[in-house]
Amino acid sequence: MLNDILQSIPQVLIDGLTLGTVYAVIALGYTMVYGILELINFAHGEIFMTGAFIGTAMLIVLTGIGWVSALPAIVMLITVLLLTALLTGLLGMGIERVAYRPLRNAPKLIPLITAIGISFLLQDLVRFIAELKKGNYIVTGPSLFTSQIKINSSAISSVFNDASIKSSFIIVLVSAIIMMVVLDFFVNKTKWGMAMRAVAQDRETASLMSVNVNKVISLTFFIGSALGGATGVLFAVQYGTIDPYIGFILGLKAFTAAVLGGIGNIRGAMLGGLLLGVMEMFASANLTLMTGGVFGAEYKDVFAFAILIIVLIFKPEGLLGKPVAEKV
């Protein structure tokens, strides 16, 4: 049994990392907004979804134009990524302005209602547009980067089987790493990043230190949503097919990942996302084996949530979160 599990480990790791990267980048959006406003932005999953649709639409249009499709696919993808990020970033700012800012002094949970409202609105708007244009809202983008790369992991040790990687995975991974590193640098090393951290720590004091709180919050939403939208494009490239309801499940998982890593903590979100992806993939590939067929792959979410709960029981502030001393 152990042998079987070990054999598939390289492939499971690769697939888990693919999914985990997506979780991680979406989790960033949750964590940034939470860190600064203590608000669970439930609409973030829908921003991701909108990004996926905008990106796919652009890719479809671009591959349709003769001279553009002659360009290397990677150039096209980068253009689309940047444009989508810009658009979803603006969308995120708009949502903040309309649905969250007027409620900043309301009880803490009220923005949850507007967030859910925005989610429904975005889902249906995207669906209507897709249906109007295409007649069907399950959209499959042009297939790019589909070649498979074989990894000779059996050469490392004979217990492993060979694994294969879809080349789009490399693009997803590289873009995600670039995004995370840039974000980490931005938050920790730049003036705006410092302002963001200041607002996260204490909004009022920050405003006294001549930090423009509204601007900083807008910026946070812009960055978080831009990352989410860009991930949407990457997701569409990796998995090919999207529909207006992907945001809910993925958003939920990403939120879980953010909490697992310690909400409000950017590196924690990355770690949490990757961990959750690998855990899920491991569970769905091996649960049947491990339990002798009593529990199957359908219990993978139970497995993931159980681990989350256990982690939180023993480390209530998440893996990388710092315990906050409560002020009395």
Partner: protein, 423 residues
């Protein structure tokens, strides 16, 4: 106008007369125009009007009782739409009860719970499993399905089972706070749903995704309850019980402890509030209401399957609580009623109407934008509008205010009395 309003809000007589006229007109119009959902809703909203009058609590309760027990069924009962109205009223009752339960956990004790529907599921499945042949798959004794009379016992059992699950969930809660708690409860809710969805093997307990069909309908004095109008009265009785219990809890020692924990855990602890027990009781009590309604739901639908208990459902109940005003019992009742009626009746009627317009050619809409598909869109938009214009909830919670000079020792005994009046 303002003057008129002031006169109205000061004078009991005015209010009484106005209320009476309002009720009479709406119930008459409901009786005459059977299909008019407007009349039905306006009749229901007379309860809201009643809440804002200056009558004493007893009078309010009495009038509300007359409206709900006699007037509403009688006015709606004149025609074909009767069962349809009663169905909506029954579901409103079920949701109000659940929202009140969640209100204890979220609104009073301040513990954000995103997996609340799990308790509803526990209640529903408790009755569903034993009132069908399902139980004989794993129970070594007894003959199943149990008869419809056992339903009444199961209301209590469902309540207890849900309370037990509430405590089970509460245990990890002791360490986790705030939004971490939210995600733990969310995980718990999902775990319960997935388990119910998969417990058809190794032993077939819940029949998995196929759901449990043909549940024995409840029976009382030899009458089988199969119509919504019959369940309406069952729900009404339990609802009254729920509201009464919640009210009593709110102003009891434990209710005060919940609020203390919500406001400041450490301060509460230092004042001698036992944290563990207080939180666990909040979970257990909140869950038990939900469990009871789960049993009724199973009896009414005669079918349960895991699709009724998704995360979205938990969030919907939470929205009812927040929308109504956290911690405020009348607010939560209003919130639950508005949300349920909106979703089940108003949106359906509205899209039907738009559909009628577009099919008769008054307005032309491409099929991709057909109004019958817009329910969730409109729902979402309305949620945003509500939240933006009533950020503290529809009826915000009021904390009783005590005047300092009244709090001398001799008056302390009267405090309970005062509080009731003010609340």
């Amino acid at each position: 106008m303002k003057k008129l309003w002031n006169a109205y809000s000061e004078n009991k007589l005015f209010q009484g007369v106005f209320l009476l006229i309002f009720i009479a007109v709406t119930s008459l119009s409901l009786y005459l125009a059977q299909k008019s959902v407007t009349a039905f809703l306006l009749l229901l909203s007379s309860l809201l009007l009643l809440y804002f009058t200056k009558f004493s609590n007893l009078v309010k309760w009495l009038i509300a009782g007359v409206i709900l027990v006699v007037l509403l069924p009688a006015a709606a009962g004149g025609g074909d739409a009767f069962e349809s109205y009663m169905e909506v009223a029954t579901l409103v009752g079920i949701y109000i009860s659940m929202a009140l339960g969640l209100n204890i956990v979220v609104g009073m004790a301040g513990l954000l719970d995103l997996g609340f529907v799990a308790f509803f599921a526990v209640g529903a499945y408790t009755y569903g499993i034993f009132a069908t042949g399902q139980a004989s798959n794993f129970m070594p004794f007894g003959t199943y399905p149990l008869s419809g009379e056992s339903f009444w016992l199961f209301i209590v059992l469902g309540c207890l089972a849900a309370a037990l699950f509430g405590i089970l969930l509460g245990i990890p809660v002791l360490r986790v706070k705030g939004d971490y708690l939210a995600i733990v409860t969310l995980g718990f809710g999902e775990i319960i749903r997935i388990i119910f969805n998969n417990l058809d093997k190794p032993v077939n307990i819940t029949n998995g995704a196929m759901g449990i069909a043909s549940i024995t309908p409840p029976k009382i004095f030899g009458i089988e309850l199969i119509y919504s109008s019959q369940f309406y009265y069952v729900v009404l009785i339990i609802l009254v019980f729920t509201i009464f219990t919640v009210r009593r809890f709110e102003h009891s020692k434990i209710g005060r402890s919940w609020k203390a924990v919500r406001e400041n855990e450490i301060a509460a602890q230092s004042m001698g509030v036992p944290l563990v027990r207080t939180k666990l009781i909040a979970f257990a009590v909140g869950a038990s209401f939900s469990g009871m309604m789960g049993v009724i739901f199973a009896g009414k639908q005669t079918f349960v399957d895991p699709t009724s208990f998704t995360l979205l459902e938990s969030i919907t109940i939470l929205v009812m609580v927040i929308l109504g005003g956290m911690g405020s019992v009348p607010g939560v009742i209003l919130g639950a009623a508005v949300m349920t009626i909106l979703n089940l009746q108003v949106l359906a009627e509205m899209t039907n109407w738009l559909n009628e317009l577009s099919s008769s050619g008054a307005i032309t809409i491409p099929d991709a934008l057909s109004p019958s598909k817009m329910q969730r869109l409109i729902f979402g938009a309305l949620l945003i509008v509500f939240a933006l214009y009533r950020p503290k909830g529809l009826i915000p919670a009021k904390n009783p205010v005590y005047k300092e000079e009244e709090l001398v020792s001799s008056k302390v005994l009267d405090m309970k009395q005062d509080q009731k009046v003010q609340a």
